[in-house]
């Protein structure tokens, strides 16, 4: 065992003065390990949808608070939390899970505005932001704020109300947390005199464009039997987390082996036909950093 480990990680005359982990055959095996793991997850999610989950601490209130914090930064008035819009947001999330799609418009042609109509919300302006696979409120908000169209929704002075749904379910065979933001300006607010903050914001450059605008919709019958929002907390690992951890571990093994190889061989006068360890270490270090900061969340 000890000899085997030495062969794997320490360069010496038995392994041709190059740790076995860095041999071509071992690197090829590592590449196959990465690919097989990914194929394995694909098969698991097809055979047993939902077996791999996603851990999230996102809350409805957290999203509303962070939205208003962003609006306050540019002098905009807070959006008021709306139970009705939260119901439409929840309907949207449930529809995505039920019909297994990740888009603003469903494969059957149901638009976001249909959900506003379903909860009898008559609006002058409306907008929708979607996010999935995020672990916490701040990451969701950061991703939305980094996207022009989502940021425009969050910072639009035309919206006065906001509803949020944070719903767990299985999408494309993977357990996930969907976050839906529904913005609106109800018809009942027409004629309301805007305060100075809103006027200033309207003049600001950031608020010139809007993601969605719609004319007032025809109300449909109200449905009252919506489940209450609950905090999302389930402690399973997603395939993304597992892939990330395994990939990091594999790269770390190669990285450490290269450091050991560089250190040991720097004191030996042995001529080897190998690549430059510093070059390998540089690219691996950058990739390890990139993997650490890569997040699984996606927005549309």
């Amino acid at each position: 065992m000890r000899v085997h480990l030495k062969n794997l990680f320490i360069p010496h005359h038995h392994n041709n003065h190059r740790a076995k982990v860095l041999h071509h055959a071992s690197l090829t095996k590592l590449i196959f390990a990465v690919l097989i793991l990914q194929i394995g997850f694909g098969i698991i999610t097809k055979i047993k949808p939902g077996v791999l989950g996603f851990a999230s601490s996102i809350t409805q209130q957290g999203i509303v608070d962070l939205t208003n914090q962003e609006r306050e930064k540019i002098g905009l008035k807070d959006v008021k939390f709306s139970e009705t819009l939260s119901k439409s947001a929840r309907l949207k999330a449930e529809d995505m899970f039920a019909n297994d799609y990740w888009a603003h418009t469903s494969p059957t042609g149901v638009t976001p505005w249909d959900f506003f109509k379903k909860v009898n919300y008559t609006y002058l302006y409306a907008g929708e932001n979607l996010a999935r696979n995020f672990g916490n409120n701040k990451d969701v908000m950061r991703a939305w704020m980094n996207s022009k169209t989502h940021r425009e929704n969050i910072l639009s002075p035309r919206y006065s109300e906001l509803g949020v749904a944070v719903v767990n379910g299985v999408l494309n065979g993977e357990k996930t947390t969907l976050v839906v933001q529904h913005f609106g300006y109800p018809v009942s607010d027409i004629g309301r005199v805007p305060d100075q903050k809103e006027v200033n914001a309207t003049k600001s450059e950031i608020a010139q464009n809007y993601l969605q605008q719609e004319v007032p919709a025809t109300p449909l019958p109200v449905q009252d039997n919506y489940p209450q929002q609950e905090e999302v907390k389930h402690l399973t690992l997603s395939d993304f987390d597992i892939t990330k951890s395994v990939n990091l571990a594999l790269l770390f093994i190669v990285f450490v082996t290269l450091i050991v190889d560089t250190y040991i061989m720097s004191n030996k006068k042995v001529i080897r036909r190998v690549g430059k360890n510093w070059a390998h270490l540089s690219i691996l270090a950058l990739v390890i950093i990139a993997i650490i900061i890569t997040i699984s969340g996606r927005i549309i």
């Binding site: 071509h24 990465v34 690919l35 036909r273 993997i291 890569t294 699984s296 969340g297």
Partner: protein, 93 residues
């Protein structure tokens, strides 16, 4: 006496090559981070990084005069490992 026409030393040649490597890697890293969430751009960036690394290794060793197919294979495998690891994280179902 200082000889101004002296040929570049081994270390001087290496450092110039490494400057090119680091500039390239940092540039690709910046693009990768700036376009976070945009799958297509990130996939192209990762593939370009792998290709750049293999090309850099080939040119660097050719300049040093110790290029060999086994060295090319080593750079190719490291680049493939890096590309495989990043693509499995970027491309999700």
């Amino acid at each position: 006496m200082i000889n101004f026409f002296k040929k570049k030393t081994f270390w001087q040649k290496i450092s110039v090559d490494f400057v090119f490597l680091y500039i390239g890697l940092l540039m690709f890293s910046a693009i990768f981070l700036i376009f976070s969430g945009q799958t297509l751009v990130q996939v192209i960036t990762v593939l370009a990084t792998g290709l750049y690394y293999v090309l850099w290794g080939t040119i660097h060793h050719a300049r040093e005069g110790d290029f060999h197919i086994s060295i090319f294979l080593e750079y190719f495998l490291i680049a493939t490992l890096v590309v495989a690891v990043l693509l499995t994280l970027i491309i999700r179902t």
